[in-house]
């Protein structure tokens, strides 16, 4: 079945709203089950939206593998599974497989946004230094509008006009370019962590950096919590030592402590 212009615009609106939530991960409207439900309402086939949403959601959770595909972007997977099932009269399972290029495209756009938004940090730093809260909020929200807007644009184009062309575009797209952004995505956190070290690293605590690094490298940890517990333990030992020192120093006159040495 054909999608009308109005339906295409409404789908884009859904993509914009759910896309903002995809940035925030606040209401979980970016999950396939919700996106597909909304898309089903717009297309006038709620039953289809429910079925497509369930298939895409479970597949994205890894609870259900359809043809071995785990769609990379959940929002776009939910959206395009519904749209393709509707337009091409496919089963939701088959449509999920066909939605993969679109989910990939959205994932790439996400990676490119996360990489290039690092450029927003310098103006944000300046706004913070000037305590210019309005400007700070404006820049921060610009990032959301851009990303959600891109979701809306690809949804509109994919659903209404250029479904085949976009699918072909994704297949032809140079993989090295996307991989380049992925590589940058792996390297850029080093900048953030380094900026933190520039402020926090001192001769007295550099040893702990290595201890934490070695723990995380050689113990197979699911998250940083065990390192932090060890950190609290070590920090507590230091804290006790410091507070023990405080009481005798107060009682003994200055320099008295060193007299016993050697």
């Amino acid at each position: 079945m054909e999608i009308t212009l109005v339906q295409g615009l409404l789908l884009a609106l859904i993509a914009f709203i759910c896309g903002a939530d995809a940035c925030w991960e606040a209401f979980y409207w970016f999950r396939p089950l919700v996106v597909a439900f909304f898309a089903g309402i717009v297309l006038g086939d709620v039953k289809l939206g429910l079925a497509a949403g369930a298939v895409a959601e479970l597949s994205y959770l890894g609870l259900l593998t359809v043809g071995g595909t785990v769609p990379p972007d959940p929002l776009m997977a939910g959206m395009m599974t519904t749209v393709i099932a509707f337009t091409a009269k496919q089963t939701p399972e088959a449509a999920l497989g066909l939605s993969l290029p679109f989910a990939l495209l959205a994932q790439w756009i996400g990676i490119i946004c996360n990489t290039t938004f690092a450029g927003f940090l310098a103006p944000l730093d300046r706004a913070a230094a000037a305590a210019d809260d309005k400007k700070f909020i404006r820049i921060t929200l610009t990032g959301v509008v851009i990303k959600a807007g891109l979701y809306a644009v690809i949804t509109f184009l994919s659903a209404f006009a250029l479904q085949k062309q976009i699918s072909g575009f994704v297949e032809m797209f140079p993989v090295w370019l996307i991989h380049g952004f992925e590589v940058a995505g792996g390297l850029l956190p080093a900048v953030g962590l380094t900026l933190l070290l520039v402020v926090m690293l001192k001769k007295q605590n550099i040893a702990y950096l290595f201890i934490g690094f070695l723990m995380a490298t050689f113990l197979s940890l699911n998250n940083i919590l065990p390192v932090a517990v060890a950190g609290v333990a070590v920090a507590f030992i230091g804290f006790l030592k410091d507070s023990e020192k405080k009481s005798p120093v107060a009682a003994i006159p200055d320099g008295g402590e060193d007299d016993g040495g050697i």
Partner: protein, 263 residues
Amino acid sequence: MAVSREKLTKKDIDKMSLLSILEQSCFSFERMQAPGFVLGMIPGFKKIYGDQKEEVAAAMQNNMDFINTEPHMATFLQGLILSLEENGQDRALIKNIKTGLFGPLAGLGDAIFWFTLLPISAAICCSLASNGSVLGPILYILIWAAACFSRLWFGRMGYNMGVGAVDMISQNANAITKAAGILGMMVVGGLIPSYVSFTFAETLVAPGGVAIQSIFDSIMPNILPLGFVFFLYWLFKKKHVNTLMLIVLIILLSIALSFLKVM
């Protein structure tokens, strides 16, 4: 430092928690959630410091570092920070505590929301939806809306914990700053292997047929991410490079290395 107690009300903390819905706005790989994390605390800072613009600026800048935590539980840290700012605690202390806690909170939050609530709620709601019931997505939306407002509770908890510990912190400020610095360093050290990924392509082979990456791995796993961090540290400390320039360079270099099939 001037002590300004009891400027914030429960309402202010709740406002902060609601603003934390925007916590992941403008997420970037460099400092991840920093912009949104600061944004949520701005009204609190402004209320604490009023017309003292320099103080608001200093408080905002103090939180612009790398942070990545579970969005629902970020409010715990924000509440804690507001309580410490309100009581005029040292900013180095605040930064150390924040750096030490965001990683563990992320681990805790992910375990609760991402690995427990998400699979369970999705399994229930999907089975409803695949039976054709609109209750599936609606229940899903409701469950996550309820989860969303757990941030109010985390925010109050963080703020109250900070207020409750203020006297203890004030009396031992130096020792706590040092201890929190140790915790922070250990956590940052632990974050390097999980957040920074620096690996050469498997196809990149040294003369003799040994993959370059495996040579580095046999010296020590993750030695490249660690070395890269210290290389950047050197650039910042000794060469005073411009951060924005550095980011652009890293992106261009990454694309070039990917094109040449080096990484």
